[in-house]
Symmetry: C2
Subunit: 376 residues, 2 copies
DNA sequence: CTGTTAGCGCATTCAC
DNA sequence: GTGAATGCGCTAACAG
């Protein structure tokens, strides 16, 4: 034990200090803590309302509302009394009541298929940033890659949020149409459905995979495997579409059903070996790294014996790996930001946003190389 | 292109089918789609309310409410008419109004410091499972390891949720006390604050690290480094406390300030080398894997030259890595389940739950071995 | 500038 | 078993 004995355990010694004025309301009057202490947890006492505040401050509820929301000018003296009362009573506005009266919830919802993939938390961060800058909360829900529950979750979200971001939705077209008919702000992220009137922001996976194929071709690869992701994934379909097109350049792509996790990639390694390819492209970086692991465990060298290419470029920041994965990269923060902005515009009825597309770039790193036995 | 040409692109060919009856309400009447189509997105038309349904069905709003909530017996004929009207109109209850009237939001909130660590999504899954089984939504917020914003986010959550789960909160004791005084259901996950009246569910990190130290000792290690996590982390403090105690067994632990991500671990590798230890314990698996990567890149062999031990055991399921990390493991789903149940009990006023502790187990895998030059 | 009056959409007493 | 009336807590006209 050399350093920093244990100071980090309790940032503040017990009872050391009370919250600073700037942190908490309720420091204006000496009786604050006393009245707060009354709020024992046993007695589910009636929450303090705006009326209580008004009474305590000797003003009407409208005035309280005004100073709290800055809706209109209020006599400084009254404002002070209100704020004191708020602090004194520990008043917090009731979100449901505000929502009802204002006609909006003050929150946006985000539905994602899988939080375990660092990809989504990253997107979420920038979504949250713009949402908060607009004074809105963010409500996250995860469908766990389950297309069945997704529609219901989306409905839930729509019921309690002013707008919803559907990330990589797996639900079928009909369900999407159903949601789009609600007249509720919804934007699609990474899913483009022809004929659907929903704004969308998506990544150019087709372009990204085309770059990957080009890279592989120039390296001399001819036979390539693709570890396919979730069946209902639009992103997956786009990647496959790119491989289709690549056939014109002499690239023969074998699609191997796989999945979206490292575990899936790990399990698919045998099939990759057996397929006789010299390179494999994975649905995403997680799958790719899983595959690399299994491939190496089975005695193959990457990239000498087998090139492995990922997608999403999550490895750099989020994943620990001695393998610097060659991958298709995108600005996840930009994706999140544009999605949130599009939704914001929609909610402001400044809609009619045309489909936005985030480009991909090829990142050549250490898992791609010419094939051991060049084609021709 | 060998298989599965592109069928997965659109699960349903455009216009192929409408939602099945079991999936969606609104199929009862032939005019459903027609009326739904009226809901153009441009005209922010008034949402259909329970009154509209009542009118359409020729009953009072109370009756509508009754059939919708199953609150009381209703004439089957009327019930049918109500349900038809609901379907026809595409009625969805307004969450805010329900919340206001019922006096509860129908949701619980979960605050986590970092969604990018697979640890939290895992916990979230089981929290969601029990919440949903209780008919409650789950609202997730991320503080991004920022102790400053955490208190505010928690307040936000409390305002719109019936109960809140504070996971690994970084805020200081005073802020925690402030929240605990609100008389609002809150349970602490992975943070124990003496004298605080909040129920808690936490992992026995102390015990876990003690096992790790024992393992290392028996292997023959005497000089060990600890890559320390966030300063405000209780879990981090607990780990350090265990190292303190381990000193009695002749283990000399050097604490190296580090962080909570793989990148942090990667960056700290030099310091580990320089410290002259034969083994290093990381704040978590992410950090450990980052360290392994850097260590190996610098020419050291793991575990021959340096043992590396993690914490949380996320590598197995979530992380791709050719390194099977020796680590301290816990049942994350159990942690989430117990936390959610404790909160549920609190909300039902069946509170007074005593602190729950989730045990840790040692998982000896491939990154720990006897030191190259055994002590003595 | 401020107080009074109406709802927001729904659940829930009450009478019938 | 059903409808009418009341109120949840708050905001937004509306008068003053």
């Amino acid at each position: 034990m050399t350093e920093n004995p244990r100071t980090s355990a309790e940032p503040d010694p017990p009872g050391d200090r009370m919250p600073k004025k700037s942190e908490l309301p309720g420091t204006a009057s000496a009786s604050v803590m006393a009245s707060a202490s009354v709020a024992k947890k046993g007695a589910r006492q009636r929450r303090v309302t705006i009326t209580d505040v008004g009474t305590a401050a000797g003003v009407s509820t409208s005035t309280v509302s005004r100073v709290l929301n800055g809706t209109a000018r209020v006599d400084p003296e009254l404002a002070r009394r209100v704020q004191d009362a708020v602090a004194e009573l520990g008043y917090r506005p009731n979100a449901a009541a505000q929502g009802l009266a204002r006609g909006e919830a003050g929150a946006i919802g985000v539905l994602v298929p899988d939080l375990s993939n660092p990809y989504f938390p990253d997107v979420l961060k920038s979504v949250s940033a713009v949402a908060r800058s607009n004074g809105r909360r963010v409500m996250v829900m995860e469908s766990d890659e389950d297309a069945t529950s997704e529609h219901e979750l989306a409905e839930d979200l729509m019921r309690c949020c002013d707008g919803v971001l559907l990330c990589s939705p797996r639900m079928n077209r009909a369900e999407l149409v159903d949601l789009s008919l609600r007249g509720h702000p919804v934007v699609l992220v990474n899913r483009i459905v022809p004929g659907l009137s929903l704004p969308s922001v998506s990544v150019d996976f087709y372009g990204g995979m085309t770059l990957v194929c080009g890279h592989l071709t120039q390296l001399g690869h001819r036979r390539v495997a693709y570890l396919s992701g979730p069946e209902a994934s639009w992103a997956n379909a786009e990647r496959i579409r790119a491989f289709d097109a690549a056939a014109a350049f002499g690239v023969d792509v074998t699609v191997i059903p796989c999945g979206h996790t490292a575990r899936h990639g790990y399990a698919a390694a045998d099939a990759v070996r057996d397929s006789g390819v010299t390179a494999v492209v994975a649905y995403n970086d997680l799958v790719a790294l899983g595959a690399v692991t299994a491939l190496e465990e089975s005695g193959l060298r990457v990239p000498e014996d087998m090139s492995v290419i990922g997608c999403d470029d999550i490895s750099l920041d989020d994943l620990p790996s001695s393998r610097r994965l060659t991958t298709a990269s995108l600005a996840r923060d930009e994706l999140g930001r544009q999605a949130a902005q599009t939704l914001e515009a929609l909610m402001a009825a400044n809609g009619d946003t045309e489909p936005r597309v985030i480009p991909m770039e090829l990142r050549v790193r250490h898992t791609s190389a010419p094939p051991a036995v060049p084609a021709h």
